[in-house]
Symmetry: C2
Subunit: 340 residues, 2 copies
Amino acid sequence: MNKKRTTLKDLAKELGLAASTISRALDDHTGISQETKEKVLKKAEELGFTRNSIASSFRKSKTLTIGVIVPRIDIHFHSLVISGIEEYAYKSGYNVTIFQSRDSIKRESKITKILQNKMSEGVIICLGTETTSYEHFEKLNRMKIPLVFYDRVPTGFEANKIIINDYESAFKATEHLIEVGCKRIAHIGGSQSTGIFKARFEGYKAALVKHKFPMEKNLVHFTKDLSYEEGALVAKKLLALKSRPDGIFCSNDYTAVSAIQVFQKNMVKIPQEIAIVGFSNYPISKIIEPHLTTVNDRAFEMGMAAARLLIRQIEEEEDIIQTEIITIKTELLIRESSTR
Amino acid sequence: MNKKRTTLKDLAKELGLAASTISRALDDHTGISQETKEKVLKKAEELGFTRNSIASSFRKSKTLTIGVIVPRIDIHFHSLVISGIEEYAYKSGYNVTIFQSRDSIKRESKITKILQNKMSEGVIICLGTETTSYEHFEKLNRMKIPLVFYDRVPTGFEANKIIINDYESAFKATEHLIEVGCKRIAHIGGSQSTGIFKARFEGYKAALVKHKFPMEKNLVHFTKDLSYEEGALVAKKLLALKSRPDGIFCSNDYTAVSAIQVFQKNMVKIPQEIAIVGFSNYPISKIIEPHLTTVNDRAFEMGMAAARLLIRQIEEEEDIIQTEIITIKTELLIRESSTR
DNA sequence: AATTAATATGCAAACGTTTGCATAAAATTT
DNA sequence: AAATTTTATGCAAACGTTTGCATATTAATT
């Protein structure tokens, strides 16, 4: 019975050639005659031969595989990034192995060990919330395995990073509210210990400063994880104020959506009485009524950029250790929630 | 310089033992003394040795890797399934390599070749829309690589399948509308050439029959891909009817949500005047007002089940070729859109 | 004390490819 | 015709593990 798959040697025996010749013929090496190449190709087709890439990887110490570590795959942002990574990697002949850290530093660390053993040629990472030390990544660094971080990137750790300009995006979003005539703009922010949410708050502040608006303490609220529920709580607080805001810049779309709903239930008209801007362009932003003005963070493009950078570093000849920080352009998608 | 990573042989030399002994010690083999095991473990730690799993895979012809082919990763349903797959695989010591077919049969076919060469030990697949012949999968079958299909599964091709009972779920959803008092129930369906959408329509019909409701042709509308936009179009048609329906069973949540919005804009009260039920439990179903009653298709559990079945088949001793079809239980999540 | 059984370790081949170097044959130059 | 270059192919080692079998040592049984 045909127990085993055909190998180079089988092909060689069939054709009366050496295995090395077959290997080179399949690689379209110069130095192998056209005639032989054709014979080999034909026979390979006939016997259904395909290279055992594990053996090849082993011999060449090249796996053509990159690893991706994300907190969770089922978060839309990450699934978009992964989609971008897969797309670029596929076209470059690389495979993508995915891992979820589920925000556990322990699991994240174990995954880096697996990737090391499996000889991943590079790794793309979005840090979990628990991660504040980077020893496990330094280990990969020492093994000369290129790393690219995106979104939640390490601070105080030199590394390749793909980010968006959160500060500027927030600045523009807030300025947009000012431009449509808002006079008192509130902010629903995320945890200030997370870089990106801090930057969004700073951008918001800067826009107020530029336009000489006062910063009103009771218009700024930080949430733990920008959840739908927290957004509703904050919205209720804003609603209860003697003098309500007439615009809100939210650090994500979930809180923006729940705010819209809270106000609507209380007969506050959006955008007439309060204009709202979100962040991230979640699918829901195009569905909620009124459609939500939001910042398109171009997750797919982030993924593509991360893969491109990583693969470039993998294939680079010289290993002058260098890191790159790439900022992806965002765009403000103006929709009805802020159009007057 | 420490150019290369430490190998078993390095360890062996350091300890004055044979490589085989080291290998066995690290495997916690019986037949290696406790003393030696400890020595080896300590030295391994000291030199930062970890097995080269490529070499191991090569020697053992076991890669501990499974492949996943989905049309697109950024569709929420698939990202949830993948999340389930990764979760189960991780706990079983397997890695997950993902590929997007982007609904191209050509790409799907090329991916199967890659998986074959890379010695994936099994593959989980959701078919692309173009796929109607299964030769590329038969090839994997012949190589004894176990396959598990989910959601969009092949017809007329014996294979492992993870599905939900679309017929029964739709039946129950429709019956629920009847129970809350709906007398004339419409249906927004998907392409009837796709098995799952056909089954949902059949389930809807069966519930009407059971309760002796007439099937009204103008209350049933099929869309091309159950998009948000198509849902709105159908809703407008239903709205224009001289005698409107008082309940709608939609084959997914997007159409259900857009129907809700169309009716609300036209001052039709949901659920009082029209009760609505969707399908799939998308995140938006918990956000839209009123919250949408929908069928939880348990995507995460489908992923877990797919991985469990696949890994069982990979590890099974006997290769009596057999296929399994596993049906995942759905549940009807009753929310405000159908509560009177 | 001699035999047997149990325990611990080593030897060497194998997995399928790739690659530097050698060699043989053909083509070109002297 | 001899020497040189070019072209095409083969040889054999190597990559790092694993594993069946052999062997050496110690312990247990007669």
